[in-house]
Symmetry: C2
Subunit: 223 residues, 2 copies
């Protein structure tokens, strides 16, 4: 089953036919997470995917218009899932500073197993976010895709955290900028730590990425 208890609702423009509604659809999602994280988005094709899940190219095209739309779906799912996790982690936390600290940690930390949505491998999905997510918007169709709602979940996450920032410092001028800088930045830094360490600072026995961004955010808004 795609999920055991909770369903995350994804914008219906991000698919042709809802992959959560059938067995084949679920196999397409889990299979694409495997293959994209293994091969990278450029080397990933619907032909390889259909072979991987013992189906056919034509069948995959019934769910998604192409691999770009599939990636957009995965990213949308990821942000919808993060929104859900964010709500969980902040329940009953009153102090806005503590709420903000927890939010930044959630956004920047490494993802570990989450068994709530059994068909999705969240660890692999997080790797896809790090290396591939920016390709969803960094192209000439971005305005069209934006109108289709591909980025709504991401914007909502940014918005919610911006609101916490404004609670702490109502006169801070750049809350959205700060939050999207932290999100995109932490993805890049994790990638750099793995492949281009001279562009980051890897510190033994410390999650430098998370500590750096927590510190950065508080220095910026509390100055």
């Amino acid at each position: 089953m795609y999920q055991s208890t909770i369903t995350l609702q994804i914008n219906n423009n991000a698919f042709v036919k809802d992959p959560a509604s059938t067995d084949l659809g679920k196999k397409i999602i889990s299979g694409s997470i495997d293959l994209i994280s293994e091969l990278g988005f450029e080397n990933f094709t619907f032909k390889k995917l259909s072979q991987h899940i013992s189906s056919t190219e034509a069948s995959v095209y019934r769910y998604f218009n192409g691999k770009h739309q599939l990636l957009a779906y995965l990213v949308l799912w990821y942000w919808s899932w993060q929104k859900y996790r964010l709500a969980l982690r902040l329940t009953n936390i009153e102090d806005p500073k503590e709420r903000l600290r927890r939010a930044i940690i959630l956004l920047t930390e490494r993802v570990s197993e989450d068994s709530t949505f059994s068909q999705i491998n969240e660890i692999k999905l997080h790797l896809i976010l790090i290396s591939e997510a920016s390709k969803v918007f960094l192209n000439k169709d971005v305005d069209k895709d934006n109108q289709l709602g591909y980025f709504t979940q991401y914007k909502e996450v940014v918005n919610r955290i911006s609101e916490i920032i404004l609670e702490i410092n109502p006169s801070f001028k750049y809350p959205h900028m700060l939050v999207s800088t932290v999100i995109e930045g932490s993805h890049h830094q994790r990638f750099f730590a793995e492949h281009l360490p001279r562009l980051t600072n890897v510190i033994e026995g410390e999650d430098a990425v998370t500590s750096f961004y927590v510190e950065l955010v508080f220095n910026e808004i509390e100055k």
Copy 2:
């Protein structure tokens, strides 16, 4: 002519045959800057480029193994140019804080015409940097490309600015992380301002991107 006064030396692994050495090579560079900024990297092909410059696909392949290598060359050229501009802007400035401020402005501001290298349209090249540069490293060949030296110029820029930061605050733990966050972040913010404004803060009559990052850097290292 490719340049009127100064030549920027580019790593010879980033091409098959040096495009700066022939007329056709120079047309390939200026033509690809036009076409990539116009079409986006995904829709750019060597066939379209060869038609644009009235040459043939096969001839373009004599200079670059493929469009990925061409993009890597352009990005390398850009960072080599920024290194040169950085050196110019910091000459005779003694105060490390002022050096840092000028460096951050250089990295984050919009690029305007520079007539030094007449064959290169730096404004279009900067647009390519914003939307396409991360695609050079965000793929499965990154380790191979790193060994070929595709990122040396970028690393050097990051390194030079990190050194200024350490002059100001020798105990700061994350100089490289801060600098690469600022560079990648400012590119993203300019893209967001244009296409996804809810992810950033656009402020009337202010270059919000530059002011945000200058403030961010000083708050972080002087806290």
